[in-house]
Structure formats: structure tokens, C-alpha cells
Amino acid sequence: MKRLAAILTLTLPLMAQAQDMSKALDEVVVTATGTPHTLKNVPVQTEIISKEQIEQLGAASFEDILSQLSAGFDFNAGDMGSQMTMNGLGNSYILILIDGKRLHGDNGGENDLGHIDPHNIDHIEIVKGAGSALYGSDAIAGVINVITRKHTDEGIYLENTTRTGSYADLRQHNGIGVTVGRLNSMTNFQLQHTDGWQNTSVEDPSQTEFPIFDSRNKTVNEYTNWQVAERLTYTASDELSIYADGSLYGKRIYRPTDGKYASCDVNTFDMQYRDASAAGGFTYRMNKTDMVTFDLDWNRHAYYYYYTATTLEDGYDPLGNFTHYYPYFADQRNLQSDQQRTMAQLKGVFSLPYSNSFSAGAEFRYDCLDAPMRVRDGGGATDWTAALYAQDEFTALDWMSLTTGIRLNQNAGFGFRATPKVSVMFPLGEFRIRTGWSQGFKTPTPKELHYQYLRTMGSSTFLYIGNRELRPQTSDYWSASIEYSHGGFNMSATGYMNSLDNMITLVNIPVSEIPEGSAEYMGDGSSQIIPRQYRNMEDARTFGADVTLNWRITKELTINGTYSYLDTDAHVYNEKKDRLDKVTIDGMAHHKGNLSATWQHRFTEDYRLGLGLYGRASSTRYYQNNGNGKGYQTWRLTTSHDIGHGARGLSYRVEAGIDNIFDYRDTTPHGLHYGTTTAGRTCYCTLSIRFSEGRKMDTKSIIKESGHSSEED
């Protein structure tokens, strides 16, 4: 039985110790190498956002957590996704994992982060750069691994968390965990909703024919998303455990239907997603250190227009001929794209003589895009990538640990590429010095190659055009960091440079370069359509420095701070001028920072109070078109109230707080870029009820005893 629990909980953070912030460096992380290390001794610089930090923050979303607790991130939520950036690079360069598995599906290169239930996160691990041989070389900006909560106690575990806030914000989380004998079942449900908000009713006057002060466009639109997920784990023997899981997910983004100005605030459709996943696999442990895991995953992301008024779209008339005028009526929907992905992964970890830990694996990924009206010549496209990787961790020397890896990639359309990675750590007393170099390789996605669609945004209409001439992107990432830890004090500084060749980006192109069959751009001057096509930038570099500080001043008072400096240097070839033009990487801000102070005090056996003050700030965000986003700073005050004994029986937790205390709003007119989409001052309140009935596993002894991770790989 002990072994069963070990297999299920190997990579959980040290829950028993987690209350003590000073021991954060003892947390176990797995993302960088695929093998568990304490944060203090992980050979590749890894940032962790702990369960306690997340709980005290009272966040409404995954975006909220990252932007409040780590300086390297920024978001600009919109209908097409959260416009996430990590050290200056966008979502398509960021690999987001949930328990080691890739988040699937994108709109305009943006993942839908609604898949991540903020109340089901145990902790988050962040590895910057393409440093991990295990997770694909396309993680050019880095990897974010969201580790979800696990409940492996024998018996029943029930959890309800309801968070409500301003603008009808609702976050519902329900978890049911049951362990009977060798079988564990975990069922999760989540719902996220907001009515959205409008920070300004002014449209950018340079894009409208007359000043508009009563636009109905919202800063963030209303949306609802829900998810049901089930995971079954069966421990067949001490060596073998098998799992199967699946999920269904739905989202609808509601756009205002009461617009008055056809040129900018009238919409005729909402967006709808219908996603699903299914997976299965096993872990086989030969001994304490050696094991083999296998995973087979299938994911689907289907994106529809859900019409709110009669809308003419591209389609086929009753005789089967193409027309720009196929009508759809309110409450009907129309598939825009269906992305399906199947992945198989086999991985082994083995201890070798002379303090070597060797990992090797194989991965096959098959992508299928079905977009009947958006892909020319057939309405669909496929792609596959196969990869072999190997990594060795050498820890024989007291003064150095060396991790070397290589990933061999073979892509259907773009052939072979090897990407090596090297990381070295020098432990010098209370200092840790880490340095690394890694190569990245990212082939154009089927959408970047084949997609073509018209999209109106406010008063502008864009024609997005795929480019079959694209070349793969490659990157070299160098980093060096120094970390100092003493007692409850920890500080680290990291310098990095990420150098990309052939970076793929959307650029405006002359109408004469629009491919045949895209005639909607024409006109007599009444409507200007801006064609944009994916092109390879000649080169792009991001470079900067991240500084983090964690200081547990007293047992109850902790201060955290992060600061990120970033600069970029990118060039695109100007055919007309036969020269390289310098361009801005959209969303880049030079300075970003976070600061937080938390205080916790247990007044009685049954009551503990937590207080938190959080600040975040960003300097101006730069864009190629439509203005720069203003710099901003916001502050948040949170309280938490733990009532009851905690782990056994019934326990309650109440969280309440005020976000954006000083009511900052970015009132930049619609049609221009915002610095932040924050809604101004908002309040929230969360009630969590947990019930646990059964025998608790001794997680401390399990982790001490065990060597390797199984679930987060």
C-alpha cells in the first residue's frame, strides 16, 4: 500500500512542510530535467510558484497568478486569447503543460488558458528558454508546468470552492476523490464566468469617421467556460500503475449585440469552443530509481462562430459552388477550425554508474487541422513530428553537476534537426551558480502555413494569410544565474539572451501580394482591408535579466519580489528597399516588477488569519501598430481565514479581498493597445469547504523513500 501511495504522490510538493515558507527551496521540481530535484539543487534555473502563494493571492485565473507572482509575464486578454508573453516572446513560443502534458489548441497562436482551473493548482514550475530536452524544442521562450492537486488518501475526499467577485465573476471548482483498494478516482468540475467590463466607451478617433463616445465594445467580453475531467489510476502491482483520463471543455465568448456603429461595435457572432481529451498510460518501476513511462494522448480543440444575427459567410450554394454569401442565422454555429492532436510518448529514467542519471525517450505527434472555409485546397492540413531525446545528469563531483541533453527532431515537412542542451550548476556554499546553453527548433504550424481568414477588429478588417514558403524557426538560448540562500533569505539574478533565426511573425503586406482567391479585399474605397501574412523575420533577439527575492523575515511575515528587465532587437527584410528594417516585437516592455508581503498568524487551534499585499507594475508596452500600451501599477489586498483542523474531516476556508485598490483603469480608446485590461477596483470572496474521510498517507516518508516522478513527466 505504501508503494501505491508512493507512485501516486512522488512528485507532489512536500505538503507537510509547505506551511513553512522558509523551506520553499526544499520543494521538489521536475520540469527542468524530468527527474525530481529540490528547488535548491535543480541544475537548470527553475522558478516555482507555491501552493501557499497561490492560495493567499485568491486569484481568479491562471493569468492572474502568473502576472501577480512572476515578473516575466504579461497578458492582454481579448477574444482571441490572453496575448501571453514570457520574457518578450508570445504564447506560440511558450510551452504550457498541465501535469507534464501539453495544453492543446490555439486561436491565433494563443492557448485558451481557461483549461487551467485556478483552484485546482498545486504549484507552478517555470523553466525559461529551450533548456529542457524532454518537452520539445519548440519551447523557445520556456516551459510552464502546472501541477494540479492530487488526492490520494484512502477513502473519500470532497472539495467545493466558490469564488464570486465584481462583474458577476464566478469561479466554481468541485473535486471528488475516491480511493478504494488499488483504484483511485479523481473527478473535477470547474466553471468560470464573468460579465466582462468596459473601461471606456470611446473609440480611437483616428479609426472612425466621427468621434464616438458611446461605443458598446467592452474591454473584456463576457465569457463562460466549464470543464469536467475524470482520472482513474489503478495500481496493478508495486511496479506497475496504469491510468486513463478524459475531459470535456466548453467555452463561449459573448460579444455585445447592441452596437450602434456598423463600422466598429456591431457584431454578428460569438465565439464558441468545444474541446475534449482522452489519455491513457502506465508507469513501470524497475527499482527505486529506474522506471519507464508511456502516455498516449488525444486532444481536440474545435472553434465555432456562434451567430447572434444573420450573417453571410463563405460557403457553398445549393449547387455546390463557392459563394461569399452563405447565410447563417442567430443561434446557429459554423465550424472555423478543428485541431486534433494525437501524441505517444515513451520515456525511461535509469541510474548509471558514477552518479549518472540517464533519461531517454521517444515522442510522436500527429496534428490534424480541419478548417473547411479557412484552408485553401481542401479545407484541411496535417503535420507530424517524431523526436528522440536523451539526457544525462552527472552529479559525481561535489562542486559541479552537469546536465547534457540532445533532442533529435524529424518533421513531416521540414526534415531533421538536432538540438543540444547543456546546463551546469556550481554549488558554492550558500551560493548556486548556474549556466546553460540550449537550442530550440520550431517548425511552422499548419495554421501558419495554410490558414486564411478575414477578421474584423473594431473598425479594421484584416485578411490573415498563411504562407507555404515559411522556414522553421531556430533559437539559441544562453543564461547565467547566481542564487544566494541563507536561512529564510533567498535571492537570485539571471541574465539571458534568446537569439531566434527565421522568427515567424505577422506582417502587413501590399494588396498586390494577396494570393488569388481572396477577392474580398476589393472595393471602391469604402472599406480598407489590411492583408497580413506570416513571414520569417530575419532575426530576433530578446535579452534581459530577472531578479527574484524571497525573504521570510519572521515565522509569520514573508516578502517576495521579482523584477524583469527586457530588451529586444528584431529585423525584417524590406523587399522594396532591399534592406533590413528594425521592428518591435509586439508587447515588449522594458521593466516589469512584482512585490508582495504576506503575514499569517494562527490565533487559535481552529482559526488562522492570512493577510497579503501585492503590487505589480509595468513600463510602456511597445507595438508595431495601433499605439503602445501605457505603463501601469496595481495593488491588491487579500485576506484568508482557515477555519477547522485542516486535513481531517471538515474544514473551511474563506478568502476575501480587493484587487486594484487604487482603482487604476487603462481608458485608452478601443482600437488601440492597452497596457492592462484590469477592470479597476474589484472585490472578491471565496468559500472553500473540504471534507476528507479516510486514512491519510504519510507523504513525508513516501518522498524521502522514493526517487523519481511519474505523473508530471
Partner: protein, 357 residues
């Protein structure tokens, strides 16, 4: 694994709740048919076909054009059609003071025939006989051929189906329009540069959208206008070698910048929408990048102020800041109305599509 398979099956089927959209086309057509039947007052109909716009001033221009046509053709019912789906969608939805139904040409034409008008004249509101005009002709052909095979063939054989040509359909039209434009702008042209900005069909080695070689009309118009004054110039947004920088070259090679250093800008487009207001007359730093003066993002206004050192820009606006399109100039509108009166048979359309053949 069984659960996994079940979830897979469920997700494949549950998400593909195929909405029943198969009959949408005929449902939509039926709705247009019944609207036309209800509105039919005369036995003759005129269908005005434009690309369309979502600008309020364009809605008003089309409203006024419709009124002018109703005034000029009292025995005809007048309908306005957009060929841009996005413009049609947005003009009808939302909570406008007036929701406007600018159905696509194929739907209007089918409905006009279903309502059994004796005579239908399709008037192109295009400026040049270019690609858009070609598409208008195709819609008329489709109707004549009973494309959907659900109209009465006997009725169609007796239907008088005629076509009103674009503004600059022939060289004669060019001369007429040059005259009315000179009547309008002649006073300005004495002391100022008067530059017209048309749309033009783009053309490159890779993609030639000027399939009917209609761009030549802009060159001809400038030639005709220069017979009145050397201060007239006609450029375009997309016609190769006839963009703002080419206009500037011709100004320098010709009359030069007048002593007044003033320029009048006028959109040579049926309505003044996004192109007129922004591409032509946009002012401010967002319309000017001095590192790349010829950039498509630079407006004519800023280009001529910064690159050509004009001191003043002006326009003939309807009211403050609201530019006029050609439909807003009564004498130019009359040229279109005249084309409607002198409507041609469809078989003659070939010659208007290939004017130089």
C-alpha cells in the same frame, strides 16, 4: 481504457451537433423574396450595386442616391445592393437607428425576378469597369441563366434585363466626368493642386487583379482634366505606378507646386469611407513615418505636407470633417443616372469590360 474510448466517442459525436444549416440559403432567399414582393410598387426595378461600407456617411450617401434615383425614375422601384458580406452583415445587425438591408446582388436579383418585374436595370456604382464590375455582370448572367433553376423560364425569356455601366466606362464618360469635375473644382485648380484619389486594381507579376485593364481610365481622366488645368492629378491607392509618390513625381515634372502651396484632395470613389478619411485625408503622426515616405500607411495628406512641402490641405466636405464621395456630388451622380437611362444589353457588356479591345 474503456472509459477513454467512451470519452473519445462521446466527444467526437457530442461536439458535432451539426446544426441544420442545409436549407439556410433557400430560407434566406425566401425572406428576401417576400420582402421584395411586399415592397413592389412598380413593374420596373433598378438595382444599384456598390461594394458597400460600414460608415455612417456612406449609409447616408446611399440613402440619398436611392432618393435621387426614385426622383429620376418615378416608375421604378429602387434597391441598393452591397457586394461585401461583412458590410451587409454589419449594416443589418446591432441597434442602429435604421437597420439597412443591403442584400448581395444575387439575392436581390433572384427576388426581383421572383416578384416578376417586367424590367430590371442593374446599375453599377463602381467607378471603373474593373474586377468588381465583372462580378456584377456575372450575377446578371446567373439570373438570365436561371442559375438556381427555380425561377419561371418563360418569365425570364420575356424579362428585360439591362445594365447601367460604371462611371468611367468609356472614354466619352471620362470626358464627361472631367467636365463635371472641372465645374466643381475649376476655381480651386486655378491656384491649387487638385488631386483625386481612386482605388485602382492592384497588379503585380504574381497576381494581376487588373484583369480588365480598367486602370487606364485613371490615366485618361488625368489627361482630360489637364486639358482644363495642369493642376489636376489623378492617382490611386493600388494601381501600380500611379500611387501618391507617382502623383508627386508628375506634379514635379508638370505644373509644379503652385505658389499658394495648397492642395485640394478628393476621393475618386463612390463614397468617402475608410480610404477617403484615412488613406487620403488622415492627418497626425499615426499617418506619417518619415523613414519610409512611400509607405502604404502614410496618408496622402501627410505625404504631400511632409514630402512635397505643401502648406495647406483642403477638401470639399459635406459638413465638418465629413468628406464627400462622388455620389455626393450631384453633377457626378447625374452621370451615373444618365448611364442608367442609357442602359445597355448584357451582350454589350463585353465591350465595356474590355474597353480597349
Amino acid at each position: 481504457m474503456a472509459m477513454m474510448a467512451a470519452v473519445t466517442m462521446f466527444s467526437f459525436t457530442s461536439c458535432d451537433k451539426d446544426d441544420d444549416t442545409k436549407n439556410n440559403y433557400t430560407t434566406y432567399q425566401d425572406a428576401v423574396d417576400s420582402q421584395v414582393k411586399k415592397e413592389k410598387k412598380n413593374d420596373k426595378a433598378i438595382l444599384l450595386v456598390a461594394f458597400g461600407s460600414t460608415w455612417q456617411c456612406a449609409f447616408e450617401s446611399f440613402d440619398n442616391t436611392k432618393k435621387a434615383y426614385e426622383e429620376a425614375f418615378k416608375d421604378c422601384d429602387v434597391y441598393v445592393s452591397y457586394s461585401s458580406a461583412i458590410c451587409i452583415n454589419r449594416a443589418a445587425a446591432g441597434e442602429h437607428e435604421v437597420a439597412r438591408d443591403y442584400y448581395a446582388p444575387n439575392f436581390w436579383l433572384h427576388s426581383l425576378a421572383a416578384a416578376k418585374y417586367d424590367e430590371i436595370i442593374v446599375q453599377s456604382l463602381q467607378v471603373i469597369p474593373g474586377e468588381e464590375y465583372g462580378r456584377v455582370i456575372n450575377y446578371i448572367k446567373d439570373l438570365g441563366n436561371n442559375y438556381l433553376r427555380d425561377l419561371d423560364d418563360e418569365y425570364l425569356s420575356e424579362l428585360t434585363l439591362r445594365l447601367g455601366t460604371p462611371l468611367l466606362n468609356s472614354l466619352d464618360d471620362v470626358k464627361k466626368v472631367a467636365k463635371v469635375l472641372n465645374d466643381e473644382f475649376g476655381e480651386d485648380a486655378k491656384t491649387k493642386t487638385v488631386a483625386f484619389m481612386g482605388h485602382g486594381n492592384p497588379s503585380s507579376e504574381e497576381h494581376d487583379y487588373d484583369i480588365y485593364k480598367a486602370n487606364v481610365r485613371y490615366d485618361q481622366l488625368e489627361e482630360e482634366l489637364q486639358k482644363y488645368s495642369k493642376n489636376y492629378f489623378v492617382g490611386t491607392v493600388d494601381q501600380p505606378e500611379n500611387k501618391k509618390e507617382n502623383v508627386w513625381e508628375r506634379i514635379q515634372a508638370g505644373a509644379g507646386v503652385p505658389a499658394s502651396k495648397e492642395m485640394v484632395l478628393q476621393a475618386l470613389m463612390s463614397i468617402a469611407g475608410d480610404h477617403g478619411h484615412n488613406v487620403m485625408y488622415g492627418s497626425g503622426e499615426e499617418y506619417w513615418d518619415d523613414e519610409e515616405p512611400e509607405s502604404e500607411d502614410n496618408s496622402w495628406y501627410e505625404y504631400f505636407m511632409n514630402e512635397a512641402k505643401y502648406k495647406k490641405m483642403s477638401n470639399h466636405s459635406l459638413k465638418s470633417g465629413e468628406l464627400r464621395g462622388l455620389l455626393d456630388i450631384p453633377s457626378v451622380l447625374n452621370v451615373w443616372i444618365e448611364h442608367t437611362r442609357q442602359n445597355i444589353k448584357l451582350e454589350d457588356a463585353y465591350h465595356s469590360m474590355y474597353p480597349e479591345d
